[in-house]
């Protein structure tokens, strides 16, 4: 009885700010609602029909997938590499770790402002450095043209979120018993063989979890893309979360916006169920 009373506040808040909005989102997606007045009429599945018949939804879904796959891939590769590096004894290791982790904790707004300044086409240091080193002949328009805009947000996404992978992998690396490496060395394994035969199999489980979590979070990323490019040029970098925002507050079609959100949620559910299954298995162990 006491146990139920202790959890009651949590459950009440959950119902008010999560369960109710979730149900309400599905309900709202069946209406045609004008955002400024919030008045609307029932239209059934018309919003979904319009969405799936039009090109914009599919384009945004495609963009979301491109963004998620590319930035996730970079995050994992950079994250594992950096974790392996920070696992070694280097001078001032604690400071090095803090510096690597910092981008993850800094606000997206700060990250975006800094990168937009670095990317600035006239005075940005990035164009300047690349021209100075001979990589570029002319200053590059990093955010205003394609495919540069997509490449830019993917890079910034990788920079901002790879520390998450570092944290997870580093924690796991510290628990791999040294004997495994000693045994492999006695068996004549070189550095690379030790990595593929000892380290990677040990990291497999945590990598699975990290990839699923990051896939879910990258898929729903709004702040970074919205603030970097606003979805532009035109809709070339518009992902589904940006489309939701645009429909609701740019085009004042609240009903259609919730339909996009619900459709997006349906796609994400696949990853979420995979992740929940995985965690369920680990709890059972």
């Amino acid at each position: 009885m006491l146990g139920v009373m202790l959890i009651a506040p949590c459950v009440l808040i959950f119902c008010a700010v999560i369960v109710y909005p979730l149900v309400s989102a599905v309900y709202l997606s069946l209406f045609n609602i004008f955002t400024p007045t919030l008045k609307g009429n029932f239209v059934g599945f018309q919003n979904y029909a319009d969405l799936f018949a039009g090109e914009e939804f599919w384009r945004s879904l495609f963009n979301t997938l491109v963004w998620t796959v590319c930035t996730l891939f970079l995050q994992v590769v950079l994250g594992v590499a950096a974790a392996l590096m920070l696992h070694q004894a280097i001078v001032f290791r604690a400071l090095a770790r803090s510096l690597i982790l910092f981008p993850y904790f800094v606000s997206t707004v700060v990250a975006v402002l800094v990168w937009r300044w670095l990317f600035n086409d006239l005075y940005g240091i990035l164009n300047h450095l690349m021209m100075w080193s001979g990589l570029l002949q002319m200053p590059l328009d990093w955010l205003g043209s394609m495919p540069n805009a997509m490449v830019s947000i993917v890079l910034v996404g990788a920079w901002k979120y790879f520390p998450f992978v570092v944290i997870a992998i580093l924690a796991r690396l510290q628990t791999i018993p040294d004997q495994l490496y000693e045994a492999a060395t006695i068996d004549g394994a070189g550095a690379w063989a030790r990595f593929t035969d000892v380290t990677l199999p040990q990291l497999k489980d945590v990598l699975m979890v990290v990839v699923l979590l990051r896939a879910i979070w990258d898929f729903k990323e709004f702040d970074l893309i919205y603030l970097m490019t606003g979805g532009g040029p035109l809709i070339s970098t518009q992902t589904l979360p940006l489309m939701v925002y645009k429909e609701a507050f740019g085009l004042d079609a609240m009903g259609r916006a919730t339909a996009v959100a619900v459709a997006m949620m349906a796609v994400m559910l696949v990853f979420m169920v995979l992740y929940l299954r995985r965690m369920g298995k680990e709890e059972a162990r």
Partner: protein, 272 residues
């Protein structure tokens, strides 16, 4: 020799990763005219704190900062308070639906805010609290509570059952056992959960963008971005100064309370 080469390489990579943030600090202390030098100077020829002075006294920055502080503190206190009781219940008590509930918490922790935000927006308008810090505190619980609950649950699972049983045998009630035995044991976990929740609220952008459109209730994230949009020519040095100021709480947490952060990494941020 090999050691030195490895150290050099490692530190080069670290510095390249940190470069954007280093550049932010450098830009914020350069005089305005030096920014438009071609080629750009690396070290400022002259160090000035003019931008910080203007930021603090001639822009609404301090107002945004006050809003952010109130908002993040209230969210953290509310969420961690409620979640500590909830996590204790999930870990130590048995009742039907407990496992389901724990699963639901994890599920909500992954929910995208864009799905919740439109109904929440309508709810705030209907409740008549739109455009206030209160509306943001309510909205922030939707992501902060699942997060805190999940993190605290993993911390509390690490406290041995015997401790509570011993107190109960000695005649303590369950609530007394909670306050005298569990809470002190869970304190480090509660501190690191609070830190993470605070950072999460401090950095939030989307809810603030949708739910608030007056300066008096704007937190730093949307406030600083509105300074970018409203100025005709973008004053990068001012914005970099704002970015530095915005990161100060993080730097403090990193420097002073790092052991609590690392504890949090191990416990729940990622399990595996």
């Amino acid at each position: 020799m090999k050691r030195i080469a490895f150290n050099l390489m490692a530190w080069t990579i670290v510095l390249v990763t940190a470069f954007p943030l280093i550049w932010m600090v450098i830009t914020s202390v350069k005089p305005q005219f030096e920014l438009f030098r071609i080629p750009p100077t690396f070290w400022p020829e002259e160090i000035t704190f003019e931008h910080y002075r203007r930021l603090l006294w001639e822009t609404p920055f301090l107002l945004f900062m006050r809003n952010s502080l109130i908002l993040s503190f209230s969210t953290t206190v509310l969420v961690v308070g409620v979640a500590t009781l909830g996590a204790h219940s999930l870990v130590r008590f048995r009742y039907p639906g407990r496992e389901r509930l724990a699963q639901l918490v994890l599920f909500t922790y992954l929910l995208p805010s864009v799905v919740l935000i439109l109904p929440l927006y309508l709810m705030m308008v209907w409740l008549g609290v739109a455009n206030s810090l209160l509306s943001l505190v309510i909205a922030y619980t939707s992501f902060a509570l699942p997060y805190a609950l999940w993190l605290l649950r993993s911390f509390m699972q690490g406290i041995p059952d015997d401790l509570e049983s011993a107190a109960l045998v000695d005649g303590a009630t369950r609530m007394e056992a909670f306050f005298d035995v569990i809470l002190p044991q869970a304190l480090p976990g509660i501190i690191s959960t609070s830190l993470f929740t605070f950072i999460l609220s401090w950095n939030e952008y989307l809810y603030a963008l949708v739910l608030v459109n007056t300066d008096s209730a704007r937190p730093l994230t949307t406030g600083v971005m509105s300074m970018l949009v409203s100025s005709f020519n973008i004053e990068w040095s001012l914005l970099m100064a704002a970015s530095v100021m915005m990161s100060v709480p993080l730097i403090i947490i990193f420097a002073v309370l790092q052991k609590y952060l690392t504890r949090g990494f191990g416990a729940g941020g990622v399990k595996g």
